[in-house]
């Protein structure tokens, strides 16, 4: 580890900005086939408690959200990356 490393506290601001995205225009790249699309173009099946989000090109799972009374669990199994515009000040 580089001696000049910090810890996770340092990314509170950066990650707050990353996680505050407008979801539907966030770009996804599928881990399986590499298809690049915005999230609005994915194929979604909403059930209780699972919401499954699939690549509309190859059908593989991008991610699953499991929702209980107290928590959301985001299982990111099939995403190569997410890309979102930075908020305008």
């Amino acid at each position: 580890m580089a001696p000049d490393h910090v810890d996770g506290n340092a990314i509170a601001g950066l990650l707050a900005e990353v996680l505050a995205v407008e979801p539907t225009t966030t770009v996804t790249v599928c881990h399986s086939c590499g298809d690049e699309a915005v999230l609005a173009q994915s194929t979604v099946v909403m059930n209780v408690p699972d919401t499954t989000v699939r690549c509309s090109a190859c059908g593989d799972v991008l991610f699953v959200i499991v929702t209980t009374d107290t928590e959301h669990t985001l299982i990111v199994s099939g995403l190569r990356l997410l890309r979102m515009p930075r908020p305008t000040p």
Binding site: A20, E22, T24, T25, V38, L39, A40, Q41, D69
Partner: protein, 243 residues
């Protein structure tokens, strides 16, 4: 305008029948930040036992008003829509989240490429929002709507569409699948690739297209648009499931 996952308490102002199967609901939301044409809200209902159900509804209202307008179709055996259509009363309170969505949205801009909206059934609601945003901005971008529906009785926002159609007859096209109004020029029939081509802006004008309706409707229209020569990057879609 921003999009954000903020919960608001909405108070029902009015509920009135829009068609035999749908109601127009207006909500007062003092904390509403405004919204763009095509954006939606999530409505969350909580039952006495704590069970919660959330559904998305497009907004017909646009701009900075804190009075929101949504048109809700009754889904048979639905968990949320029958309550909203049949049981909701003025002064009832609802939890709503929004404004949501940034993809299926039209905002006024200097872009002169024409805009073609294509709606199936209650998929017309976000298109009404876009048409209102277009009017409010006095936009010179050409915008047209093709609205597919079953019968004249199912028509949402009839007066508003009639006014828009009187001002510009090319702007609004209705295609009835089962029953038409009297003296209608075309017989009833399901939308086809040919009728879609006849009632929409052609690919040579490179329109931006917005398609909203049931998942089956949207998939069918998207395949036709591609066959007609529209570019897939010019098309944005919103599917609301299998009704």
């Amino acid at each position: 305008m921003t999009s954000g996952a903020t919960w608001h308490i909405a108070t029902v102002a009015t509920v009135r029948p829009l068609t035999p199967n749908a109601s127009l609901i207006t909500l007062g939301v003092p904390t509403w930040p405004g919204n763009d044409g095509g954006q939606h809200i999530d409505v969350r209902l909580t039952a006495e036992g704590g069970y919660q159900a959330t559904r998305s509804y497009s907004l017909a209202s646009v701009g900075n008003s804190t009075r929101l307008e949504l048109a809700v179709d009754r889904v048979p055996d639905g968990e949320v829509s029958p309550y909203l259509v049949d049981d909701l009363r003025p002064d009832d309170q609802l939890e709503i989240q929004g404004p949501l969505g940034g993809w299926f949205v039209w905002k006024p801009s200097s872009d002169l490429r024409p805009v073609q909206l294509i709606a199936g059934g209650s998929g017309v609601v976000p298109c009404i929002g876009m048409l209102r945003a277009h009017s409010a901005a006095q936009s010179t971008t050409p915008m047209r709507l093709l609205y597919g529906l079953r019968t004249p009785e199912d028509l949402f926002f009839a007066d508003e569409l009639k006014t828009l159609g009187s001002a510009n007859p090319a702007a609004i096209s209705l295609v009835f699948s089962r029953l038409t109004p009297e003296h209608w020029p075309d017989p009833p029939g399901r939308l086809s690739r040919d009728s879609l081509a006849a009632h929409t802006i052609g690919p040579e004008q490179r329109p931006r297209l917005f398609v909203c309706g049931s998942t089956g409707f949207v998939e069918t229209v998207l395949s036709w648009l591609t066959e007609l020569g529209h570019g897939s990057t010019d098309i944005r879609a919103e599917r609301f499931g299998g009704i």
